[in-house]
């Protein structure tokens, strides 16, 4: 009981900095496993309670209170600034290749994409989604890139193993084709 109250206070105060189970365990002076169990049961209870407007999320190793998704539209109404721009297709493709193949060099990314990828890499670095992780043991000692903790956060992943499995196209081909053809024609029309 008491622990749940304290945990809510601590998570509330931490805001989007979040707290790890380890941090909570050292403040509460209980075992980390117990902390995890309490968090788990709190998360479930809060999730199910339809009076509650927040939920406990885990991205990476951080537990955080966040508003429930279904209330987003209401928050939006009071928000002063618009949502930050989402990533471009080029940046997303680059990020996907890095995420699934890390550590990876820019050349390897470009081999898969078939185009130059300097700018998307600069964008992803600026957003703190990827970072350098040493250099490859190859001619020219190219920089290796990996994804960051911020990447997990930005894509709601607990860990890299939560990445959706890579699979070979079962996406409706026709739909995709229509979409692209539409885009192409629109572009030509203008």
């Amino acid at each position: 009981m008491k622990n749940e109250s304290i945990i809510e206070s601590l998570l509330f105060a931490a805001g989007d900095e979040g707290l790890t189970a380890g941090q909570l365990s050292s403040v509460l002076r209980i075992e980390i496993e117990e902390v995890r169990e309490i968090l788990q049961s709190m998360a479930e209870a809060i999730e199910q309670d339809e009076k509650r407007g927040v939920m406990i999320t885990t991205f990476g190793d951080e537990y955080r209170l966040m508003t429930k998704k279904e209330n987003a539209a209401f928050i939006e109404q009071l928000a002063e600034k618009p949502s930050p721009k989402t990533l471009s297709q080029a940046a997303l493709e680059t990020l996907a290749i890095i995420a699934y193949n890390q550590p990876v060099t820019r050349i390897e990314v470009e081999d898969i994409r078939g185009v130059k990828t300097e700018r998307p890499i600069a964008t992803l670095s600026a957003r703190g989604l990827i970072e350098e992780a040493g250099r490859a043991d190859a001619p020219g000692r190219p920089i290796l890139y990996v994804t960051t903790a911020e990447f997990l956060d930005a894509f709601q992943l607990q860990s890299l193993s939560d990445l959706p499995p890579l699979e070979e196209g079962d996406v409706s081909m026709q739909q995709e084709a229509d979409l692209f053809f539409g885009r192409f024609e629109e572009a030509l029309d203008e």
Binding site: A13, A14, G15, D16, E17, T57, R64, L65, M66, T67, K69, A72, I75, L78, A79, E80, K81, S83, P84, T86, L87, Q89, A90, L92, E93, L95, A99, Y100, I112, R113, G114, V115, A126, R127, G128, L129, E131, T148, A149, E150, A154, F155, Q156, L157, P164, L166, E168, G169, V171, Q174, E176, A177, F180, F181, R183, F184, E186, A187, L188, E190
Partner: protein, 242 residues
């Protein structure tokens, strides 16, 4: 010039080829080289007619396709020249690249969905009081940590602040509070922790209580003591006993 952004709907030659393959309903493992090459060149020519900078990668792919096409038009003599059997069909190499690229293109789409969903979750800034002030020793931070933190902040919504209060009811008077504080201190006989004088943590209450303490100190009605820097403050009645 305006076209530039808009016609750039393809992420590169592989993306364009995937589009053509889908549009023409072609089997990716059995690409009709002549047809795909014609379509591809048509697109590249259109881009050039629109005076767009056609990225060199598109031209390299065009050259590759033309080479494949001309080779496929050569008379079929493979039955006589066995050594070609071991050589990979260039179409296979192309198909492999296309499939590999397609995997990530689709993964990018799924990431985009996750990203969109994530924008629907909001948090709050960490409380100032949580911020550790005892920090020493070497730092192990990178510019990426800073950018990540910054990114987190940009995702946070700042909600419109209500217009600051106009006229506030005069419910709490400093004088009244001085009176109650003095009574409290006299009743307790021994010094009271400064913090314990404030039994509400509402801002207005705190301000009034604080002002009352200052006023009482000024009037020598109370004595405030502290054992050392940062130690707790104690307040006692007294001062001018006269």
């Amino acid at each position: 010039m305006e076209y530039k952004v808009k016609i750039d709907s393809f992420e590169g030659p592989l993306d364009l080829l995937l589009h053509l393959i889908q549009q023409l309903e072609i089997d990716i493992y059995d690409i009709p080289v002549a047809e795909i090459t014609n379509q591809y060149l048509l697109y590249v020519n259109t881009m050039q007619q629109l005076e767009l900078d056609v990225a060199s990668e598109y031209l390299v792919m065009a050259a590759t396709l033309i080479a494949m096409k001309s080779r496929s038009l050569l008379p079929d003599h493979s039955s006589e020249e066995e050594e070609y059997l071991d050589e990979e069909d260039p179409r296979e190499e192309l198909a492999r690249r296309l499939i590999e690229y397609k995997k990530y293109k689709e993964a990018a789409g799924r990431l985009h969905e996750l990203e969109e969903e994530r924008t629907k979750l909001y948090s709050r800034p960490p409380a100032d009081q949580l911020f550790s002030s005892n920090a020493e020793g070497p730092l192990e931070v990178t510019i990426f940590d800073m950018l990540g933190a910054f990114q987190k902040m940009t995702r946070r919504k700042k909600l419109a602040v209500p217009p600051k209060a106009t006229v506030r009811r005069e419910e709490l008077s400093v004088e009244k509070r001085m009176h109650t504080l003095k009574e409290k201190l006299l009743a307790s006989k021994k010094p009271v922790r400064f913090d314990d004088l404030f039994d509400s943590n509402e801002r207005e209450e705190l301000v009034v209580s604080f002002l009352a303490v200052l006023e009482l100190m000024k009037q020598n009605e109370i004595v405030v003591s502290q054992q050392g820097n940062f130690a707790a403050l104690y307040v006692a009645a007294g001062g001018n006993e006269t």
